[in-house]
Symmetry: C2
Subunit: 111 residues, 2 copies
């Protein structure tokens, strides 16, 4: 279900999706001039193969367990874990459990 993007100053609740996770999809929470925030939903077994993003990003695990591979090194992310990646840094994600993450992207000027 598509939700309207949040406005500046509008509070968005990020409760764990729990049993609703497998019926949920990744959702852009807002996209402003400099920042975009997406809630990624990765059901168990789902993989995002090695890819890169133009700007710097943060990933913040909200629930579940995600294997994050950066520069050939794989580390598990649990709820409450935060990581940032340099612009263009290749990375891959694999959901070990039903998981959701907050992805914050810095949008480059003019992009």
């Amino acid at each position: 279900m598509a939700l309207p993007h949040a406005s500046p100053g509008q509070i968005v609740r990020l409760d764990p999706l729990g049993e609703r996770l497998t019926e949920s999809v990744s959702t852009a929470l807002f996209k402003a001039a400099q920042l975009e925030v997406v809630r990624l939903v990765l059901p168990r077994g789902h993989t995002m193969r090695d890819h890169r993003v133009q700007g710097e990003i943060t990933l913040h695990c909200l629930e579940g367990v995600i294997d994050l591979t950066v520069d050939g090194r794989t580390q598990p992310m649990h709820a409450g874990d935060l990581v940032y990646l340099a612009a263009g840094q290749p990375h891959a994600l694999h959901a070990v459990q039903d998981s959701s993450l907050l992805l914050t992207l810095c949008l480059l000027p003019g992009v």
Copy 2:
């Protein structure tokens, strides 16, 4: 206690501080070219008066309850609540309970 900044790909744990909160201080987790992330620690009763930040920011409540005032409107933020503010948008924070928040700032080019 000052901690070294995280490197790209290095996972930072953001467990609630709980009883350690009143002995903790706000900490910059990392500062990169485009993004800076700070864990703000606001013991109960602490206020950050009306101020503004040059770039866009997000605030993500990790624990506690914070009254956020934006454009003269006050709303409570609980653990798991996220909000973004436009560049230069005046805002104030008041900790209703011992609280910590994740502050993500987009750094303007050349700043």
